[in-house]
Amino acid sequence: MKLIRRKKRISGSLGGDIFIFLVLGFLGIFMIFPFYFSVIQSIKPINELFIFPPKLYAMDPTADNFVELFRAAGNLWVPFSRYVFNSVSVSVIVTVTHVFIGSSAAYALAKIKFPGSKFANSLIVLSLLFTSNVTGIMTYIVMAKMGMIDTYFALVLPFIATPMGLFLMRQFMGQIPESLIEAARIDGAGHFRTCWQIVMPNVKPAWLTMIIFAFQGAWAITAQQFIYKEALKTLPTVVQQITAAGLARAGLGFAGGVVMMIPPLVAFLVAQGNIMETMSHSGIKE
């Protein structure tokens, strides 16, 4: 009988590992390519940008596009820091609130049987499947009736209760064994405490993934149909405005794209690194 290699893995050989690495590496080149290309384009001087066919490297790399981007950003009618403030605060508020109320609701849907729980569960899935081009207009009507157009509320409230994060958490929480929850309940913990002190630490990969989705979505919020005041606009809108000036600003466009990618990228790497560190606790999952 084969001896168990406890250190790393039980089945599978080193040769298999190398094979997997090579397959993933080969596929990976295709996946990472546009990312790489965007960065390369952003450090090309203007004359290199229009060489055809485009080069996959920069012959004479420069930071000019970035310098120009920030110079243009410094010359705006509303100070640039205002847009940064808007985007950062909106992203943080939306992400934190989404994770907080989404996780609480996911616990109730996954772990408590109550009249209406089936209905609420299917409502979430149905809403994920529903796409229509009229809902935008209807949302506008609802928000206008509540007087939210051109307020901070319009930048935040519609984006908090998105069903995808809740559905993800519900799925993961469903895997937590009933016995663990009963034990906590017998010890006198209410549902709220059970959710946050017992269940949440056991679904760490899930809420870290939820943060990735939420932050990525929140960082891209423009709420263009609800926001008309310049001082309330967010970074994606203003970067688009700066870089939309045609070919002369093509380099700026790439630089803007790269700068806008950085925050979600950092959030992704930090969260994903933490997910990989999670070791499942022995005997927790059924």
Binding site: V23, T139, K285
Partner: protein, 316 residues
């Protein structure tokens, strides 16, 4: 929310006592409603109410200026009986649904599974690499360069250098190739939310299960995957299924970006593109809503099908 029967057996056969029973159940579970309330309050205002308001629009004629005029089922009649372009769109959407849907779904799992067998740092790097198309901006530029129809297009240049073709192929305007190219790019961007959920799910599997499996006689990775990993991933498999259904049935954006709108002979026209056409180009919102509504019904059918397939692994 009270239409759903509670699990408890009603004490009497009379409706009254059943109603009372439900009420008692509801009181007993007050904390559940408390935990749901903040989310569902916002969800109701910004998602459910707009969706319910938009449902009847499919039965009207609505140009966004005048008040919607009720026209009964006429939008649906036109759609199915008279609209030839819709039939092309239907065919293309179903192609995406049966091709990119299942392939991308399996790819989400297999790639996540392969990544999971690597060391921690490599895992993070590869997860990033495969998720990169979901983070990167202006991803379509690169595919336009790749499949550009002149000799400078990378694919044409390579194929001509290798002597496989003599003259450049119009990848993005020749109806023979358009759908193939769009399917390829659609697959390429499909490792999104479902993929990350799989990665996270694999991380939560108890290592002791693999040890137990080895003792029970599991010999290689494939057996390990089939008998231990897959059964542990039910909830994530369902999540990813819903994500891939939504993505493949609503495909259309990729085609619009690469092959233009409208595409040559509507070769990459999908139901979603059709809805976009009527909604935002022609302002026939009633008709566009009817189109979207049919798509919604198709997705519900697909969702129920996949639930049946996965029923072995999920318990709800």
């Amino acid at each position: 929310m009270s239409t759903v029967k509670s699990d408890a057996i009603p004490t009497g056969s009379v409706k009254q006592s059943k109603y009372k029973n439900t009420l008692n159940e509801m009181k007993r579970n007050a904390s559940a409603y408390g935990m749901l309330a903040p989310f569902f309050f916002l969800f109701a205002i910004f998602t459910i109410i707009p969706v319910i308001m938009s449902l009847p629009i499919g039965f009207t004629s609505f140009n966004m200026v005048q008040f919607p005029k009720f026209v009964g089922l006429s939008n649906f009649y036109t759609l199915i009986l008279e609209d030839d372009v819709f039939l092309i769109a239907l065919k293309n959407t179903l192609t995406f649904a049966v091709l990119t849907g299942p392939i991308s779904y399996i790819a989400c799992f297999v790639i996540a599974w392969l990544i999971n067998s690597l060391g921690r740092t490599l895992k993070t790097i590869f997860t990033f690499v495969f998720y990169a198309p979901s983070i990167a901006s202006n991803i379509f530029i690169i595919w336009q360069l790749m499949f550009s129809g002149d000799t400078y297009g990378f694919v044409n240049a390579w194929l001509m250098q290798l002597g496989i073709i003599n003259s450049p192929i119009q990848w993005l305007t020749d109806t023979k190739y358009m759908m193939g190219v769009v399917i390829l790019v659609q697959l390429w961007i499909s490792l999104g939310a479902g993929f990350l959920a799989m990665i996270a799910g694999l991380q939560g599997i108890d290592k002791s299960q693999y040890e137990a499996g080895a003792i029970e006689g599991i010999k290689n990775r494939l057996q390990e995957m089939l008998y231990i990993t897959l059964p542990c991933m039910g909830p994530q498999l369902l999540f990813a299924a819903v994500m891939q259904i939504t993505a493949s049935f609503t495909a259309g954006h990729v085609g619009q970006m690469l092959t233009g709108f409208p595409s040559t002979d509507y070769a990459t026209h999908t139901i979603n593109t059709h809805a976009f056409d009527y909604g935002f180009i022609r302002y026939e919102m009633g008709y566009a809503s009817a189109v979207s509504f049919l798509l919604f019904l198709m997705m519900i059918v697909a969702n129920n099908l996949i639930r049946r397939v996965l029923s072995k692994y999920i318990d709800d």
